[in-house]
Amino acid sequence: MDRLGRYALLLALALAVWGLLAAVAGLRRQRPLAVESARTTAYALLAAVAAANGAMLAALLSDDFTLRYVAQNSSRATPTFFKVLALWSADDGSLLLWNLVLAGYLAAVAFRFRRYRPETLGGALAVMYGVAMFYLLLVSGPSEPFATLAVAPTDGRGPTPLLQNHPLMAVHPPFLYLGFVGLTVPFAFALAGLVGDGPSDRWVALTRRWTLAVWCFLTVGLLLGALWSYAVLGWGGYWAWDPVENAALLPWLVATAFLHSVMLQERRGMLRVWNLCLAVGGFALATFGTFLTRGNVLLSVHTFATSAVGPMYLGFLLLVLAGGFGLIAERAWRLRAPGRIDAVLSREASFVGNNLLLLTLTFVVLLGTVFPLAVEAISGRQVTVGGPYFRVTTVPLLLLLLLLAGAGPLLPWRGGSAERLTRRLRLPLGASAMLVAALALRGPRNPAAVAAFGLAAFAGVANLAEIGAGMRAAVRTGRRRPMAALGTLLRSRRRHGGLLVHVGLALAAVGVTASSTLAHHADLTLSRGASATFAGYTLRYEGMRTLRQPQRTVLVTDVGVASDGHDLGRMTPSLNLYPAASEPIGTPSIRGGPLRDLYVSVVGVEQAGEQATFRFFLNPGVTWLWVGGAVMALGGLLAVWPARRRPAPPASPAAVPPARRREPAVADRG
């Protein structure tokens, strides 16, 4: 099995080299056949990498402990579901998955652009093959997933306890990988556009949907990570500002900025060099993120074991930075076109503001993450930059972003009459002002929280009103109402998808603000049968029972919950004892609700369950974070959904026979 895997990886590496050479040769010598060969090689590459992943999966499922990876990350007692997950729960295996996703994207690009001219596709393929080569080298070289042990143990060590505790492990890494790896596509096309015939900026139109899909994956991946932190790690929060979390946030911020600024390039031909920088920067940050995770540079719950992979990652990252930004610096000046906008109070200006805020956020988070490194390198002192710093510095920027998310969609392209703007502003501003006034009367003491609620209301209502206005216009034409409304939604997908994302953002902002500023918690030790009051609930420790499972022993504590005398059921926080871990891993018990979550985790159990120490949390609004995040993902999905082929609208003078149409013919309104 290990031989199959190893040879499959070597074959894949050879194919990647061939693909790169063929693509480059095809471009330089104008040989379309070479580029076509490079294109079809992508399918073979996918097959080879899939075979390697399949080999590892088979080894895991069959308990083949001759493989070092299987011995270290699986055991006979591990449930089958988690055996599958073991493929990506540790460093070497997750690199295999990374390669699979990359090969998948390569094949998808090869398929999607199969009828395009080789000049368009060749350069992008070359770049992607180059990236694939690096990751395949990693997996064939220092990181050896198929390394064998001289003596196979009778049983494996099992996965890291923290990573086998919850099924969320199934989806969090794959979605994040789909996002990180996907940033290779706009990067590749951007560079190809620079190196080819003459610098071209067609890459933006070509990769627009890809970037949007990648953004969706990143959003879902980050959301799942927060959910995992909340529901599995048991410390009561969902975002710890730890270095690897930050590193995953950075590409998302840049991708969001990029999605907005490309609209400026599409409509007004502006910001071409800027968008190139964002494409390179996003990919570089994604690479940087994996460098942090695997290079063991900063400590985090995510950092995998030490390996020699770090220096290779650093080299690749530097190559990407030097190559990408170097090419831009050298060639992109030819692309620069004088920009023009018609008014300051216009959608264009709001996009500039959006980019300003998002990029400042990116730099702030990046600075905070690498500052301890820099200080230690210069002076040898060890300092920490943690949660409080990030909260203080990012909150003002996030509030301004919320404001823009509400005001931006209201501003027309090219500016417009102030009258129209004030009319559109009335409802959102009114809602926001009422909310702030109502909150001010209730007596909170945190102006930032009240401002956040007000701005979230502003953004949410503004975007909902815009969606509603579009639907109302359709209804007025007299056709059947619900179908007409839905039809409008589906027709201008891009615009309505974006509006929906802003609504989701507002909801998530409400959730984050509520849970950050209004939460309560208490640490209590209770004897069996004793009760305590917390946040209006009466919590009674009823006792402990032990569950023996093949891979772990679970100590489950039963806590009865009552409120105003009504029995609300039982919560069951637990401690999981794994043979491989010296300390138990806690699993919290959460009673979620639309307004608040009651969250209980058991921290220690003494005297065989006669006494237990609990941490109780009351987290208001967390549900809205998940709902808002889901709405954001749905909005992105709506925006990226491809249009059905439709006949050209009569107004378009450049009507081409609809046989081979790729781009939607309907220009987005508004």
């Binding site: 003459g198 502006m270 910001l271 071409r272 060099v273 800027w274 920088c277 460098f291 290079g295 063991n296 540079v297 900063l298 400590l299 950092t303 770090g310 220096p311 650093l314 990252l317 530097l318 930075l321 030097a322 930004f325 170097g326 831009i328 610096a329 050298e330 000046w333 030819r334 692309l335 620069r336 076109a337 004088p338 920009g339 500039v352 690498v370 490194l373 820099a374 230690e376 390198a377 060890q382 010296s582």
Partner: protein
Amino acid sequence: MTGGAQTGPAPAAAAAGRRRPRRAPLPVAAVVVAVALAAWLGWAGLGRDPAAIRSPLLGRPAPEFALRTLGTDRMVRLADLRGQVVVVNFWASWCAECRLEHPALSAAWSRFRDAGVVLVGVDFQDDHPSALAYLSERGTSWPVVADPGSRTALAYGVYGIPETFFIGPDGRIAAKHVGPVTYDQLVREITRLLPGGRGQADAPAAGRR
């Protein structure tokens, strides 16, 4: 970087054949600087062990403690031990790595106890019965004290046991070791602090190092 700095040639004009290779020096220089910075940072990052916290106590007077031994309930005070070499070892019965270093500690104890070196074990976040069982099972003959509330551990900056501190006769912490300590490491550190080792100014260097 907003794409519209000076009035550059319009794309049509550039494509019309005026291919003057006019490189913009400033952006290229900026890229070089940025890449160099990233390289330096990355290299520095790779060279460090992120799990290690450097102790600020090295060279400083060791924090005082007065703790009772497990079982025999004798009081051990650091102040009483001034003038002797003291090795303070933080451990626990639930700690797998502590078991690894027990033989080394035993051997070092039997070698140096007559030279006046004191080895003190401090039980960390443990319960008495388990700790006593461990001690009797392993045959631990040096004084082992309990640390209620982990006050001493917190004062010494303990974060991941086993941790071993070497205190010289002057009462200052000369060295700290995180992780299981080997016999050779113990011998080296203790010998350095004994009269005749590098730590003493008046005795001739007895060929150490």
